[in-house]
């Protein structure tokens, strides 16, 4: 695991519990979530149509797309409810000194 792939997203208090923030890096968009048991990251765009998931609702371990209510599991990326049927990519997250990092491949 090379160190340089860990990208700093921001401080842990920038995300409220059961919520998410959008994080743009180079030409890609990610969503970083704070769930009751820690931080998680996925691609920031729905797999159904090109819509930002940042406007979606986080409920338990799920993110619901704001456009057509497709639902994904935040931890596994699995598409749980149509019209979304393609899984969402997930990324490793670590917290170091109250800062959140995600590992982008």
């Amino acid at each position: 695991m090379s160190e340089e792939n860990w990208i700093e997203v921001g401080s842990t208090d920038s995300i409220e519990e059961e919520d998410l923030i959008r994080f743009d890096h180079q030409d890609k968009t990610f969503c970083v979530y704070r769930l009751t048991d820690g931080f998680y990251a996925t691609d920031g765009i729905c797999t159904h149509e090109a819509v930002h998931l940042e406007d979606g609702l986080v409920m338990d371990d799920e993110i619901e797309c704001p456009m057509h209510q497709g639902i994904f599991n935040i931890k596994s990326g699995e598409a749980l409810s149509p019209p979304a049927c393609e899984d969402l990519k997930t990324y490793p997250v670590k917290v170091d000194n109250d800062k959140i990092f995600i590992k982008i491949d």
Partner: protein, 410 residues
């Protein structure tokens, strides 16, 4: 007990019911009978991404044939044209007989047709299924001026798609606003502005008197004596539940098949789900008919559970969407019975929402925004509506405050 379960109508409600039955019952035979020679597919893209060539036929199917076969669900392409509820039999045109122990009717809805007093009924096109979408796509390719009769969701979505294909589009609506049956005027006007900005002509408060064909061009005469010249006519003037088959039976009909909250019809062992139903909603304590993606899915699932013996009430709060140009419109709950309206936002780039309250309790909301800008708040509104919540109006009207707070307080 192993049963013969037949699902009449291979659309969205039908396939979701079939899979739900299988989840709860591994033994029974499940057979879907569908008039269209296609596995169940999504209709929303037909008026949008399919016309725009952003999605093709293969992108529309809910499930592949492998998934359906693996779950041991049979699909047969057949048009049923007679039913005998007393002997639990269905008949096809070729007199094939299908016998059931339990039947689900999920025949969807049919487009209303314009009544034209000349022979032009074949010259007016309608959109309900993939076949019709393909025909429209092919026919408009060499046309320029397109007229759409009816300013409802489907008409406006087609108008948006054809405008994006550089067509000159005119929409004629009989009412004094677009989407008048269910969308509040404030939102309808914002949608109308976008159509106009994008070059579409919107004519309100006008009725068609006549359509005349002259040298391959159509002249549409309106009731104020004005004439619209056009190369192609599409009508989207609403739909009716597909119940023709049952008209001379003892199945109770009233604006669709009347069902209770368990998707049961007036006849024992006969269930119905989706667009075709006028179902009892226990939360609203009245019957309603809905034509939406979310309803077809959830109602199908609920019917599936009840058919498999898992008694389940249907309680989903209504929700639907429409996509036109880069706008996404969403509606939840019931927005026609209120004593107060609260607005959130005034710029569609960040989303504009109107909340409908009665006796201080939130009843529903309608919102419009670029892409999914209103989605989260509309979803939260569904949850608040479900719980009969008295809401903090100041939070509702202040776009700087997240509505998440309101559900976390529950």
């Amino acid at each position: 007990m192993k049963k013969n379960i037949i699902i009449l109508g291979g659309g969205q409600a039908g396939i979701y019911a079939a899979r739900e039955i299988r989840q709860n019952d591994s033994e029974s035979n499940i057979k879907i009978l569908g008039e269209e020679n296609l596995l169940p597919y999504e209709r929303p893209p037909l008026s949008k991404d399919f016309l725009l060539d952003k999605k093709n036929e293969d992108d529309l199917y809910f499930h592949s044939i492998e998934v359906i076969k693996n779950e041991n669900i049979d699909f047969e392409n057949v048009l049923i044209n007679k039913v005998d509820f007393e002997h639990k039999k269905l008949f096809s045109k070729n007199e094939d007989v299908y016998t059931y122990d339990s039947l689900l009717i999920s025949t969807g809805s049919d487009n209303k047709r314009l009544s034209l007093d000349n022979n032009l009924s074949d010259d007016v096109y309608y959109l309900r299924n993939l076949e019709e979408a393909k025909i429209i796509k092919e026919k408009v390719s060499d046309k320029n001026k397109i007229t759409i009769i009816g300013g409802g969701f489907i008409g406006l979505e087609i108008a948006s798609s054809l405008s994006q294909l550089q067509k000159k589009v005119t929409v004629i609506e009989i009412g004094n606003q677009l989407m008048g049956r269910i969308i509040p005027k404030q939102i309808a006007d914002l949608v109308q502005n976008t159509h106009i900005e994008q070059g579409n002509e919107i004519i309100l408060n006008k009725q068609i008197d006549k359509i005349i064909k002259k040298n391959g061009i159509y002249e549409i005469l309106l009731n104020d004596n004005s004439i619209i010249e056009t190369d192609f006519v599409i009508a989207g003037i609403g739909s009716t539940p597909s119940v023709k088959l049952f008209e001379n039976t003892n199945l109770k009909l009233d604006n669709g098949i009347v069902t209770n909250q368990f998707c049961e019809t007036s006849i024992k062992d006969v269930y119905a789900a989706g667009d075709v139903c006028n179902f009892y909603h226990p939360f609203y304590e009245r019957n309603m008919r809905l034509e939406s993606y979310q309803h077809a899915q959830n109602h199908g699932i609920c019917a599936g559970k009840n058919i498999a013996g898992v008694k389940t009430e249907y309680t989903s709060i209504p929700w639907m969407w429409s996509d036109q140009f880069n706008l996404n419109l969403q509606l939840t709950g019931i927005c026609d019975d209120y004593d107060e309206i609260i607005a959130r936002g005034n710029d569609i780039n960040n989303g504009v929402i109107y909340f409908f309250l009665k006796n201080k309790i939130i009843k529903g909301a309608c919102g419009l925004g670029i892409a999914g800008k209103v989605g989260r708040d509309i979803r939260i509104t569904s949850k608040l509506t479900e719980k009969n919540t008295i809401v903090d109006k100041q939070i509702l009207s202040d776009q700087n405050q997240k509505l998440n707070k309101l559900i976390q307080k529950q």
